[in-house]
Amino acid sequence: MRRGRVGSAALVSPALLWWAGLLVLPVGLVLAYSFFERGVYGGVVYDWTLDNYRRAWDPLYLGVLGFSVRVALESTVVSLLIGFPVALFIATRPARWRTVLLVLVILPFWTSLLIRTYAWIVILNDEGIANRALRELGLVEGSVRLLYNEFAIVVGMVSTYLPLMILPIYAALERLGPELVEAAADLGANAWKRLWTVLVPLTLPGIAAGCIFVFVPSLGNFIIPDLLGGGRRQMVGTLVQSQFLEARDWPFGATLAVSLIAMLLALVLMQAWLGKRSSREEAVTRAV
């Protein structure tokens, strides 16, 4: 390297200063607020307390967290079950087709997320397109409840976050080289076995990344539970949001936010650690 550490510091410092002011300071403030009290009419009273954390440790809020984790997990699993085969299908096409197919999958995500969520309301409601189609086909009488439940929330999440699953898996598959992918995708008699023993382990970092990319935003999303869940269940995002806005309880909202960040951070560190271990194992295998 020609220029030394001083030059490098000059390169990174503008961005790091930016983050010090607009990321570390704000998140630090939220952390600080979580140790203060709510003013009687909102706002923060600077009296130090641990009470907020005691309040957060409540079966009620743990239940909300549990439900959110469940929805986020369901969304992740469904995304993986769809995303992996789709990525595999694209990766095994001839090179000139791959970009086209990839664009075809990504394109819907370039229309507004809110508008697509609204479209699901139009489709899934009791008098909506899905129910009328089912009635026309004589499959149901009356209507099936498709909207304002957990099903609708998961549909919304998957249709929002699916590309975040497909892209990293596709990238991982493509890195394997065409022959390996084709060989493994050649779903013959031992297809499942080969899938498990060859493709999945080799693309594990991509799968893990995809799962994190879907799980994390699903957990904090509060628009989809509100619009598609009909507000009938609270998720962590809804809870945080309602503490800040509806209850005007910034300290308690901050406490919930801090707990959420801590949980997600632990999750990501765990994934990084797993990733490192698997790359170490890979190195060992190669050395052998």
Partner: protein, 354 residues
């Protein structure tokens, strides 16, 4: 001005001078260049109100829109009670703004049109004497229903313990104060109760009621009635009118246990640098013709007695809630800020919804 021809030249020159001076003096007057920043709910300002105000006073208005009380309160919290000259919020939030010290004390001398209000509209508990807020619209909460699909509801029980045919065809309001209201009313408690035992009993009823609910909905319940997804919804009277406008088979009723009188108010912020212009705006909204256009275009009742008298009779026939007499309305309780009990209320709502 008319003058003799002989002096025309001189007078014309003088006139030009006078006009020029007057014009420059006028532009130097603060109101001419003043811009008021006002935030109201989306679709809650009659289209002609702002242009007429601007034309009448020369004051410019920048109209921002919020979706909920909570939304605008969050913005004010972030800006330490600044950023706007006037905000439209419901009664208890006006009370909170006053207690935070963010609401300006109103100068009644500058709002002579306050005399147009019903006497009762100045005695509401969240701000007696309209010292910090001026009511814009008011009304009550009740049941909005499809008369062709279900029989007339009479009691809040019809919402809380619906007939089997109504299960899954019901929505309730999502915001804490109105979500709790039906249960508090059937139990005979105050809608401002801070008694944990009261809240607990109400929560038990509401948890049971949730099983029969299609959704909690603050904004689109009327379109669910129109489409037939819902047959009976808890609704604010004015908002039920949006459904009635599309389908006359939709009706509104206040259950026999009674309800609330909610008030949407205008609050001038203490940080405003345009207090004079802000008072002019309040006074302008209280003009009878302004109040009339609020009712006729937004379909909400206004506490403006003179304005309400001028509203077309046919309208009250089409939208019967407009005919609810203020005397009747004022027998109901109005929402107050919950103060120290707010966290308990929020937890109770989480218990029901979560």
């Amino acid at each position: 001005m008319r003058h003799r021809p002989a002096r025309v030249a001189i007078l014309a020159a003088l006139a030009v001078l006078v006009v020029a001076i007057a014009a420059s003096a006028a532009t130097a007057r603060p109101e001419q260049s003043v811009t008021l920043t006002i935030s109201n709910w989306d679709a809650y300002t009659p289209e002609d109100l702002i242009p007429r105000f601007e034309k009448a006073t020369g004051i410019k208005v920048k109209l921002a829109k919020h979706t909920t009380n909570e939304d605008i309160m969050g913005k004010l919290e972030a800006q330490n009670g600044g950023g706007y000259d006037i905000v439209f919020v419901s009664g208890p939030f006006a009370e909170a703004l006053r207690k935070r010290g963010w609401a300006a004390r109103l100068d009644h001398k500058k709002i002579p049109n306050l005399k147009n209000l019903y006497p009762g509209a100045s005695k509401l508990a969240y701000d007696r004497g309209n010292r910090y807020s001026v009511p814009y619209t008011w009304g009550t909460t009740g049941l909005c229903w499809r008369s062709d699909l279900t029989r007339q509801p009479k009691s809040w029980w019809d919402l809380l313990r619906p007939a089997p045919a109504l299960r899954g065809k019901i929505t309730m309001l999502a915001t804490d104060r109105w979500l709790m209201l039906p249960a508090l009313k059937v139990l005979g408690y105050s809608i401002n109760t801070t008694n944990p035992a009261h809240l607990k009993r109400a929560a038990a009823l509401l948890e049971e009621a949730k099983k029969n609910l299609l959704a909690y909905d603050d904004t689109t319940f009327y379109s669910k009635l129109v489409s037939g997804e819902a047959h009976l919804v808890q609704a604010w009277d004015g908002w039920c009118n949006y459904g009635i406008a599309e389908n006359p088979k939709i009706k509104f009723v206040v259950p026999k246990e009674g309800s609330d009188v909610w008030v949407d108010t205008m609050v001038v912020l203490a940080k405003s640098k345009n207090l004079d212009a802000a008072h002019k705006f309040l006074n302008f909204v209280l003009r009878p013709d302004s109040g009339k256009s609020v009712t006729e275009l937004v379909l909400y009742k206004t506490p403006n007695e003179v304005a309400m008298r001028s509203v077309k009779k046919a309208l009250a026939k089409q939208f019967p809630n407009l005919a609810i007499p203020p005397k009747k309305l004022l027998t109901y309780e109005t929402e107050r800020d919950l103060g120290k009990a707010q966290p308990l209320w929020s937890r109770t709502v989480s218990e029901i919804v979560g």
